[in-house]
Symmetry: C2
Subunit: 102 residues, 2 copies
């Protein structure tokens, strides 16, 4: 279970949906380095797990919006804890990595 | 950064080291489905990031012990938040998944 939540992009996508519903392209723009294919897979998995809902609006061009479900929103606090950790310690980790990778 | 912390096995390995120092084989036994190779890579990355330290004892047979560093221990609270989330909501997620995968 923790390996699913901890899947490479899962936490990042959830963090992107914190502020509210987003279209596919908006999510993709917010995440460095995620491919169209990988974002589609991550969103499909999150939808399957009941954490994200997908709503397709019959417009031209079609508009598809992703949103955290009530269950998905219960993840906000734990994910926020990790996001704050990265804010506090991310630079130290990157400095360690740069030093030891040389 | 969040994609590193959220790497498939990273959080699980950190959660395994919560209780204290562990040998490689002890860590592996505690994690379903992780290969020797993948655990070795995850531990090497965590060591490079300064989150885990590795101590080799010159005994017969050699004993290698992994432990969270002070920096790694700052991850315990956020990781604990996720572990508790899985405890509370993991079954719901697995039930959703089973239903939608059929």
């Amino acid at each position: 279970m923790l390996t699913t939540i901890g899947d490479k992009w899962t936490l990042v996508v959830i963090a992107t949906l914190v502020a509210g519903p987003r279209r596919f392209t908006e999510i993709q723009r917010g995440i460095d380095g995620i491919s169209h294919r990988m974002l589609a897979k991550t969103l499909r998995d999150l939808e399957r797990d009941g954490l994200v809902s997908r709503e397709a609006h019959a417009e031209v061009p079609p508009r598809v919006v992703y949103e955290l479900t009530p269950l998905g929103r219960t993840l906000l606090d734990p994910v926020d804890g990790l996001v704050r950790w990265v804010g506090e310690h991310g630079r130290t980790v990157l400095a360690n990595r740069a030093r030891l990778t040389l």
